[in-house]
């Protein structure tokens, strides 16, 4: 598996909970961005040639604000630069505002074959609290349009919102399950540093649910989605078997991926070394660097074997399928017993937080929802 992530850093407005690399600009020179993307794709194709691309993911920011032409040019350039799997998954994140929903068809024509829609909530008052620019009707409309245009699509919801009742969430979630086709991303609202929500929360403007209530939300979510045939294959991602996001699996399975665009990260195995790439976060600086030197990344950093197995464990344990010991061993160059204390593994297994088959480690449902604690104990 080999994925290409393309970051579009612009949004119409910033949502107060979001800590992603997103920027609001009055005007964007789309032609210049097309050029820059092409140059950076060429750079990475030279750096890591010959891999077969299995997925492309347009994330942001708000990639549904891209001109479809830009999307097409990027896909074309990737196809020119690397061999591509005929079954390549090409996902684009879209916002449900009417303007953007209207562009879904053109994105399909540009080559996109899967969309992920940032619905976030099916309740108007929650959407306004979250600072979203769309309402419930637009959300429903965009889901319809996605269904019309794409065989595979997903949408996001946020739960455990301030003052949200579990019973309300159950209703909203059941409605969402009925609207979905094979994939849903369900995130517990998290207060991130450096966001307006962080300030407002610190100031006491609103209260977040307690750990216990958060747990209750999570548990009920698991049971509803499980019953609906959309079990969690990852902490916050649910899919019918076979409908998982192939692109996101490259992260969680710790295979190589390229990051194109401002603030995009990559992991590339080059001559036995794992290299981390990281695009400059500010769009204008990234653009300038790409024009100067062909890429907008900071100096590439070598990820040490110690860091590699930690990353692969940290990512892999988010998946229901867990992590094969062989992956940890190849990333670390050590045997599994030298990485993970067998006594601690045994204790975790006895507590019902992980299962051990002998050649892999898998989180249980209980373990998935306490993963930070599992790592705290294990590492």
């Amino acid at each position: 598996m080999f994925g290409i992530y393309v970051h579009w850093p612009f949004c119409a407005s910033k949502c107060p909970y979001c800590d992603f690399n997103s920027h609001v600009r009055d005007a964007v020179d789309h032609a210049a961005w097309r050029d820059a993307y092409i140059r950076e794709i060429n750079y990475y194709a030279m750096l890591a040639p010959g891999r077969t691309v299995t997925s492309i993911f347009f994330g942001g920011g708000t990639p549904s604000l891209m001109e479809p032409e830009t999307v097409k040019v990027v896909i074309d350039q990737i196809e020119k630069s690397w061999p591509c799997d005929p079954d390549m998954e090409i996902t684009l994140e879209a916002n449900p505002t009417s303007v953007e929903a209207a562009k879904l068809k053109s994105f399909r024509e540009a080559g996109v074959n899967r969309v992920s829609i940032g619905v976030q909530s099916l309740r108007d008052e929650s959407l306004s609290f979250l600072g979203r620019k769309h309402d419930r009707n637009e959300a429903l409309k965009s889901i319809d349009l996605a269904k019309e245009n794409f065989e595979r699509f997903s949408f996001d919801l946020m739960y455990a919102r301030p003052q949200q009742k579990v019973s309300d969430w159950v209703q909203e979630l059941e409605e969402a399950v009925n609207l979905s086709v094979g994939h849903l991303s369900l995130y517990q609202l998290t207060i991130e540093e450096g966001t307006p929500f962080h300030t407002w929360h610190a100031r006491g403007d609103f209260m977040m649910p307690s750990e216990d209530l958060g747990g209750e939300f999570y548990e009920i979510t698991q049971s509803i989605l499980g019953a609906a045939g959309l079990p969690a294959y990852e902490i916050s991602n649910h899919a019918k078997p076979g409908q998982e996001s192939r692109h996101n699996l490259t992260y969680w399975r710790y295979t190589d991926y390229v990051g194109i665009g401002p603030g995009a990260h990559g992991r590339l195995t080059l001559n036995d070394d794992k290299v981390a790439t990281r695009g400059h976060r500010v769009p204008e600086i990234w653009m300038e660097r790409v024009m100067e030197s062909g890429h907008g990344s900071h100096d590439h950093e070598v990820v040490t074997p110690e860091q590699r197995w930690m990353e692969s464990l940290m990512m892999g344990m988010r998946l229901r399928e867990g992590v094969p010991f062989a992956r940890l061993e190849s990333e670390s160059g050590k045997s599994i017993d030298d990485i993970l204390d067998p006594r601690k593994l045994k204790a975790l297994s006895e507590e019902g937080l992980i299962t051990l088959s002998g050649d892999d480690i898998k989180p249980t449902t209980a373990g998935m929802q306490r993963l930070n604690g599992v790592f705290r104990y294990l590492l």
Binding site: Y187, G214, Y251, M310, G373
Partner: protein, 604 residues
């Protein structure tokens, strides 16, 4: 030439904290020309930053002043600035023993306080003549007559000729100087150059250039450069390389004669050779017997000090050693704790001494310390007929081996405005106090209680201050050992004992203390993967218990390609931070929880 005895006056200034002792000393120095105006700083005798800041004196100081009295004679006045706290009671008693009189300073707005009393009694024990001054008369709230009446009513001293002064403005300092010359007696001593030298070692400290500097009061004979001397208690012998005095500037002299105060140095590196109260004599002309009153310093309060960052253990070791250079009464030895790593078990003269050392380590050496709860020295009589002293609760023998345990008691004097009396009585009762006396002076009450020291070292003073809004004053002296129903209380985390939290408590207090500690720990220990039981136990018997529910949900909602580096760094940091965590039966306890639990006061 040394001064004839008749023209020497040696005196101490005694006062409750903040009654203006140091400022008054400043004014005396200034009036006698010991320092130029431009050289005066505030509290010139308190050299250490911590002394100035807390308004307390830790090391004794002497200043020789030259005063020409109304009779036309130039007198040598030796002003002794004594440590002002009960922890240094022995040091104070030696300072006082080197003088013939005292100036009793009473704040005209505060009146007599607990420490005033304790100091006066000590001065009287040393047969001092006392000149009473009523200080701070420059303040609008000053009430000289009231303060004088307090001196008469509470202390029983005739205050009719008490001198109203202002250390701040210098008002009536001239009257005070005359009174010193007229009222205080001249020292006595043997002036025969052939008599065996006897000098009292008043205090000593380490000076980076001179080595140990020894403050002395010569009683008989002379001290000169080149003289071979012997410290009679420690047996150490040295050759004097400097003799001098403080004005307060250091001035080198040829000799110190009978009745005089000053300093000597003798190339001494180790301050333990110079014990306060020792007698210095001439190695070639030994005094038949030492001056009375010597006692080796005995630490009364113990606690362990650990570096918050275990990599700073070496720094802590060096820093304590440096403090020890200057403080013979500080005792320490290395120990290790499962919960806190490597550290030192330290012995102090009392609570203030302990606080000062901790504060100096923090401030002067920039060490982040974890102090354990203070404890006292218990005498344990074992069933096999032997006995031992217990310095650390962890070392408590099995109960079956213990015949009886004795604990130190104190006699405490508390002075308080009467509106706080009820609450203070209750506090003393709670702490197993036995009332000895309760008397009123106007609207102030004087309480005398006997209390077990182990009840006092645990936040008693803080509680006293908070109950009385700072108005009550407190002083104590040790009052023997008594048998008590004492037990070792362990704190267990999922059944496993936490050594740093073990304590010796009276059986009647155990449940209350155990419950408090468990409740506090429940707040401090984060939820774990498993349920955690925190218990307080005496022997095998659980007396208090709190449970911490298991972690219900703790996971990042989002973690994609762009998050890996940041989240991995968090994991790495967390892994490193685990050095500061201690594992107890699979429970990770952050060190901050221990620290907070150890700092726990009664109210929480």
């Amino acid at each position: 030439m040394t001064k004839p005895l008749a023209y020497i006056r040696n005196f101490a200034i005694i006062a409750h904290i903040d009654h203006g002792k140091s400022t008054l000393a400043d004014r005396l120095i200034q009036t006698c020309g010991g320092l130029e105006e431009r050289e005066m700083t505030e509290q010139v005798l308190d050299n250490m930053e911590i002394e100035k800041e807390r308004g307390i004196t830790i090391k004794a100081q002497t200043v020789r002043l030259s005063y020409t009295a109304k009779d036309g004679i130039e007198y040598q006045l030796n002003l002794m600035d004594t440590p002002g706290h009960v922890d240094f009671a022995y040091e104070v008693s030696r300072s006082l023993a080197s003088c013939e009189g005292s100036i009793l300073v009473v704040d005209s707005t505060q009146g007599v306080e607990a420490q005033t009393l304790a100091n006066v009694y000590q001065a009287l024990d040393n047969n001092h003549e006392i000149v009473t001054v009523v200080n701070k008369i420059d303040l609008p709230a000053a009430d000289v007559e009231w303060a004088k009446r307090q001196v008469e009513d509470v202390i029983g001293l005739d205050a009719s000729d008490a001198i109203p002064v202002s250390g701040k403005t210098g008002q009536n300092i001239d009257l005070l100087l005359e009174a010193i010359v007229k009222k205080l007696p001249a020292p006595k001593g043997n002036t025969d150059p052939a008599c065996p030298t006897k000098a009292l070692l008043v205090d000593s400290w380490y000076d980076a250039y001179l080595g140990v500097v020894i403050l002395v009061r010569v009683v008989d004979g002379y001290l000169k450069k080149g003289q071979k001397i012997r410290f009679m208690a420690t047996g150490a012998t040295r050759e004097i390389d400097r003799v001098g005095m403080f004005t307060p500037k250091k001035v080198i002299l040829d000799e110190l004669g009978p009745g005089e105060m000053g300093f000597i140095t003798a190339a001494i590196k180790d301050i333990s050779d110079t014990q306060v109260g020792d007698t210095i004599t001439d190695e070639r002309n030994l005094a038949p017997e030492p001056l009375p009153g010597f006692k080796p310093s005995v630490p009364m309060v113990f606690c362990s000090l650990y570096p918050a960052d275990s990599s700073e253990f070496e720094k802590l070791r060096e820093s304590i050693a440096k403090l020890k250079l200057n403080d013979a009464s500080l005792h320490y030895e290395m120990e290790s704790s499962q919960a806190l790593g490597m550290g030192f078990r330290c012995g102090f003269l009392g609570l203030l001494h302990m606080e000062i050392i901790q504060e100096r380590l923090d401030r002067e050496f920039d060490l982040d310390l974890v102090p354990t709860a203070p404890s006292v020295v218990y005498k344990i009589h074992l069933t096999n007929g032997t006995s031992m002293e217990l310095y650390n609760p962890v070392d408590m023998p099995e109960t079956t081996r213990i015949d009886k345990i004795e604990e130190p008691w104190i006699k405490a004097t508390i002075m308080t405005p009467d509106e706080y009396l009820g609450a203070l009585l209750q506090l003393c009762q709670e702490r197993r106090g036995v009332q000895i006396e309760l008397t009123y002076v106007g609207n102030r009450a004087m309480l005398v209680y006997r209390l077990p020291l182990n009840e006092v070292i645990f936040d008693f003073y803080d509680r006293l201050k908070s109950i009385s809004r700072g108005y009550a004053s407190f002083d104590y002296h040790l009052d023997g050992y008594e048998e008590g129903d004492l037990v070792k209380m362990d704190i267990l985390v999922n059944g496993e004992g936490v050594d740093a939290l073990a304590m010796v408590v009276h059986r009647t207090q155990a449940e209350r203390r155990g419950r408090q500690l468990c409740e506090r720990l429940k707040e401090l220990i984060p939820r774990q993967m498993v349920k955690v039981a925190i218990q307080a136990a005496i022997g095998g018997k659980i007396i208090a218990r709190e449970d911490i529910g298991a972690l219900r949900k703790d996971v990042l909602a989002k973690c994609y390609g762009g998050d890996i580096t940041r989240k991995r760094k968090l994991l790495e940091k967390q892994k490193k931070g685990k050095a500061k965590m201690q594992m107890y039966a699979n429970v990770e306890i952050p060190q901050s929880a221990f620290i907070a639990a150890l700092k726990m006061g009664d109210e929480k």
